[in-house]
Amino acid sequence: MLLIHCPYCDETLPEPEFTYAGEAHVARPADPMALSDEEWRDFLFVRSNPRGTHYERWRHINGCGRFFNAIRDTVTDKFAMTYRAGEPRPNLDALKEAAE
């Protein structure tokens, strides 16, 4: 069972308090009607599905209720970090370098 840091509560809490909510940084287009069928298909269905670093969304559903973003490794399942919804996509490599 993972421990997850909610960036709103600023607490690290057990996984059953949270639900997964799909890939992060897939913004709904401002004007969907302006998109071609292919572009709309990609928005709906095409996801990065990486082996390794994954930017994804979680919700602290049994807590504060907020959606937030996370960087997690799909091989180890481990979280690198979590951050608030709306914040820009962090550069994981830069963060690692800064930490060293």
Partner: protein, 999 residues
């Protein structure tokens, strides 16, 4: 019985306390402190069961939880029987009932053993090959055969009367295993002040120390030192010791599951005591000190009762005071078995010979053997055993320059084998920690760690008590330091330690036809060396494929003894090195775990919540039959005067259509949408237009996913410019709120809107039927209920029966209808007030079945029944619910996707059977031509189907390809034994013009 193999006064059992239990109905006497295995061995009983596939006689192989063979059924009364209990772990108590397994009619003579003689017909992969053809053999031949053969114990059929507990535990350092490494780790961590937990699966702590009384530590015997160490640990308030506690799984972020057995060792468990307790431990640091597991050697006849691991023989001797035989032979590739031979010889067992596959062995060992009168046979192999139910002799041959010489036979009643030791890294593997082959140690050792853990002692290939103590002390100190403690590393003065090494072998060489050898690798699944080689010959290349094809390592012991031997032989057959072939994956649980422990408190009424409405008690008192709906229990129908369901539902339907019915609609999902941008928010979420909906009016709302498919629906009332009362389906409430929150928080955070779930704040009474207004009007204050003042789809706040209410004029039946919302605490009183007021007007309570029928008579959809996640508004005939002027809403763009505008999509239509008495089955498939060849082309299915009392016939709704273009067409519904005919019709059967609403 006599306990002829017990050494008086020896071991750690209490010789003053005899314990009597039964084995296959015969009374057996053991001693307090015995396991079933040690007590049986003390009485000379080695034969404990028959093997899984060949029904070969099998005995005790090990002395621990890795035991593959000695599986027995244990029982303490009805519902309290357990199959596949390892005899090496079950402690004896007065009155325990033990049964051997997998034998018929008896253990000594077993009919299934004929499989053994026809073993060549049951080769590797026989599951996949034999049972493929002919198909007709399956029911009569193969399945009964498998059921008879797969006789690994019998499950109890009664409910388990025991209960099981569970707890959470947080600690700084969790130490798994209480041998020398674990004890030293716990001492380091405990002395530092760290919150420390030490667990061991056995009844007693000490691990290897219990089997090595001759070793001296810090000037004391091993057992004296152990007592002192345990006393010190018990005296530390920050240390918790747990015996009979197995670490079953190692999960993310140092969460370890422990299963603690609480009563299985007791003759009289305390009343009400839980049988087991599951601990979920979150540890800052974990020290894995699980030691190593001895490997069997692979040779013909290595599974005969009396053939066992040399280390096990040493454990039975020292810990239980039991000799495993009177005349033993040892066969080994590792020094440790020599010490077992010496200990047995000193205890009075005649050790005929030590057979070592290595040509050269330390002079110290051979000298000691000769001094004890043991024949030394280095550079030898074992090529067979004899004995029907117990080993009687062993055949040994010299090996010179790779050639196996002439064999000779040595009589024995115990054959002790040792193929070296496998570090016990199962829990480490649960963490996805990687292993690396260490050629020096001849074993896989821990490599890259993924969790905050230390591996100490034999688990990382270190051999001997001194090495284990030192390594454990360091690991415990490191773990404590990682938790911010100041920890010293203890040192230990160890004398008479018995270190040693060995070589890794595959199956032993033989002068006989290896193809006829019964050289077992996996005792529990009856897998032989020959099976592994056959799997490779038949094309298996990956060790994962070899495992599944042969079932090696797939029994309840997860291959604790067999995996490395299987790998060595597979690697040899593949012509590769062991590390290139790799290991299969170990998964939790470490040892078989009861479902009871895993379920814990979550059983019976605690399995999941049952949500009840404020009116539930009234329905129960009226004798309602309930049905579960999305965790709610809802009144399904209200049978009166002995009615069956059909009669009750027909009466309820008639009442609503002719007089008035009342229905508990409290389970409807309710969300309060409030804020300056509330209308703008709903405008974006729902397909319908909301901006110009006037306060005091409501509208049917349709919610799509971004993919254009229907997700939910419900009536939405506008109470004020900035306040909406949204209703959802009963099952969809949480999902809809989650979806709304998602969009509000992440896509449109600029909107000033608040969402609140109010499902349980409101009790809802639906009043439906021509007399609805007559009943309600006298109860309402502050509102004119006339059609002109309060028309269909109006909403108002008023007082009903003295309670503050939100009153909706809505209809899910097609009749004049109202839904009264009052604060939940007033729900029952409101219900009773309406019930009383309705008595003169024929009021009838109705349940969900009648509600479903009445709405189907009107063609109103039930999301999730008439839709399935692939249905668009157009498919469902709900195009009218889409705001045509709206530029955007969730799912709008998808309604122009090519596959959604394509012709021939399944559309929701009505279906009327040719025989009006026939009610179609929901889910039944529909075809256009019943005479087409199989497999038929299915063009749709029935989604809703009922007897309609109002129509005097059956009605149905169905999703059918191009359904709206098929009006009047006759379609066919093939059912077992007959094909039904039905005509496509509009899905609006009663009052299609909606005149009944305009009253």
């Amino acid at each position: 019985m006599t306990q002829a193999f017990r050494i008086p006064g020896a071991g750690r059992v209490d010789h003053a306390k005899p314990v009597r239990f039964t084995f296959d109905g015969k009374t057996v006497e053991g001693r307090e402190g015995d396991t079933v295995a040690s007590a049986l061995l003390a009485n000379g009983i080695h034969l404990l069961g028959r093997s899984f596939k060949y029904h070969r006689p099998r005995g005790i192989v090990s002395a621990g939880s890795e035991e593959p063979n000695a599986l027995v059924g244990t029982s303490r009364g009805p519902g309290r029987s357990e199959p596949n209990t390892r005899a090496t772990m079950q402690e004896v108590w007065d009155g325990l009932t033990v049964e051997s397994q997998n034998r018929w009619p008896g253990l000594d003579f077993d009919v299934g053993a004929i499989n053994d003689r026809f073993g060549r017909f049951l080769p590797a992969g026989f599951y996949y090959k034999t049972f493929m053809w002919p198909r007709s053999f399956w029911d009569k031949v193969y399945e009964p055969f498998i059921r008879r053969a797969a006789g690994l114990g019998r499950s109890p059929t009664e409910p388990d009367p025991d209960h099981y507990a569970s707890r959470h535990l947080h600690c700084d350092v969790l130490v798994v295993g209480s041998g020398p490494a674990g004890l030293a780790a716990a001492l380091s961590a405990g002395r530092s002040g760290a919150q420390t937990v030490l667990v061991d699966e056995h009844a007693e702590m000490g691990g290897t120390l219990l089997s090595e009384p001759g070793v001296r530590i810090d000037g004391q015997g091993a057992w004296g030192w152990l007592d002192a160490a345990l006393a010190e640990l018990r005296g530390l308030p920050n240390v918790r010791l747990m015996t009979r506690t197995t670490a079953i799984g190692y999960y993310h972020q140092n969460m370890v599951g422990l299963c603690q057995k609480l009563t299985d060792h007791m003759a009289a468990p305390p009343e009400g005591a839980p049988r087991e307790r599951l601990w979920r431990v979150r540890a800052g640091q974990v020290v894995l000190a699980q030691g190593a597991i001895e490997k069997p050697l692979v040779f013909d006849g290595n599974d005969r009762p009396g053939v066992m691991l040399a280390g096990a023989a040493r454990t039975f001797l020292h810990r239980f005071g039991v000799k495993v035989g009177h005349r033993a032979v040892v066969v080994t590739s590792h020094d440790s078995a020599w010490h077992a031979a010496f200990d047995l010889a000193r205890a009075g067992v005649a050790v005929a010979a030590v057979v070592d596959v290595r040509p050269e062995v330390s002079r110290v060992l051979t000298g000691q053997a000769e001094a004890l009168g043991i024949e030394v046979l280095t550079g030898h192999t074992v090529t067979g055993t004899t004995g029907r139910l117990r080993v009687a002799s062993v055949r040994v041959n010299p090996v010179r320059g790779g050639r196996v010489g002439a064999g000779r036979t040595i009589a024995c009643d115990a054959l002790l084998m040792c193929g070296g030791w496998t570090p016990s890294l199962h829990l480490f593997s649960h963490t996805k920690g990687s292993l690396a082959w260490d050629a020096g140690a001849g074993a896989f050792l821990p490599d890259r760690k993924t969790e905050e853990c230390e591996i100490a002692g034999a688990g990382r290939g270190l051999w001997g008590i001194a090495a284990a103590l030192d390594d454990g002390a360091k690991a415990g100190a490191a773990a404590a330091k990682a938790m911010g403690r100041v920890a010293g590393v203890g040192t230990f003065a160890v004398e008479a330690d018995r270190t040693g090494d060995g070589v890794v072998v595959k199956e032993l060489p033989t002068d006989r036809n290896a193809g006829l050898a019964k050289a077992f690798i996996d005792f529990q699944n009856d897998v032989t060396a020959k099976d592994i080689r056959l799997a490779v010959r038949e094309g298996m290349r990956s060790i994962e494929h070899v495992k599944r094809y042969t079932t090696n390592g797939m029994a309840t012991d997860q291959g604790k003894l067999s995996n490395i031997n299987g790998l060595m032989i597979a690697a040899d057959a593949l012509g590769k090195e062991a590390p290139q072939v790799g290991l299969t994956t170990f998964r939790p649980p470490y040892t078989p775990t009861t479902f009871g422990a895993l379920a814990g408190y979550h059983k019976g009424s605690h399995f999941e919540v049952t949500r009840r409405t404020p009116i539930d008690a009234w329905a129960e008192a009226q004798g309602a039959v309930f049905e579960p709906v999305a965790l709610w229990r809802r009144a399904w129908y209200f049978p009166q005067f002995g009615e069956d369901m059909h009669a009750a539902v027909a009466r309820e339907c008639r009442a609503v259509r002719t007089q008035v019915g009342m229905f508990d609609a409290s389970t409807l999902g309710k969300i309060e949408v409030v804020g300056p941008d509330a209308a703008a928010f709903l405008e974006r979420m729902y397909t319908n237009p909301w901006a110009r909906l006037q306060p005091g009016r409501c509208r049917y709302g349709l919610l799509l996913g971004e993919d254009g498919f229907i997700r939910d629906d419900g009536v939405i009332g506008r109470l004020a410019d900035d306040k909406f009362h949204v209703t959802t389906t009963t099952g969809g409430a949480a999902r809809v709120l989650n979806m709304m929150e998602d969009y509000l928080q992440t896509e449109w955070p600029d909107l000033d809107v608040w969402l609140t779930s109010t499902t349980e704040q409101w009790a809802v009474v639906a009043l439906q039927g021509p007399n609805a207004r007559t009943v309600l009007e006298p109860l309402v204050e502050g509102l004119d209920l006339s059609d002109a003042a309060f028309p269909h789809m109006a909403v108002a706040e008023c007082t009903v029966a003295g309670f503050p209410a939100r009153l909706f004029r809505v209809s899910f039946t097609g009749e004049l209808g109202f839904e009264v919302n009052v604060p939940a605490r007033h729900g029952l009183a409101l219900w009773e007030a309406i019930w009383a007021a309705g008595q003169p007007h024929g009021i009838t309570a109705y349940g969900t079945e009648t509600m479903h029928i009445l709405r189907a008579e009107k063609g109103f959809i039930l999301v999730g029944q008439d839709t399935d996640g692939t249905v668009t508004p157009g498919d469902a005939g709900l195009d009218w619910a889409i705001g045509k002027q709206k530029k955007d809403f969730v799912g709008k763009r998808s309604l122009q996707r090519p596959d959604i505008v394509a012709k021939g999509r399944k559309q929701l239509v009505g279906l009327l059977t040719e025989d009006p008495k026939v009610v179609l089955e929901e889910g039944a498939q529909i075809v256009a031509d019943p005479n087409q060849p199989l497999p038929m082309t299915m063009i749709g299915h029935v989604t809703s189907s009922y007897w309609s009392e109002a129509m005097g016939r059956s009605i149905a709704m169905a999703l059918i390809e191009g359904g709206r273009d098929r009006m009047g067409e006759v379609l066919h519904i093939p059912m077992p034994g007959r094909t039904l005919r039905a005509t496509v019709a509009a899905a609006n059967f009663v009052d299609p013009d909606g005149l009944r609403l305009k009253v």
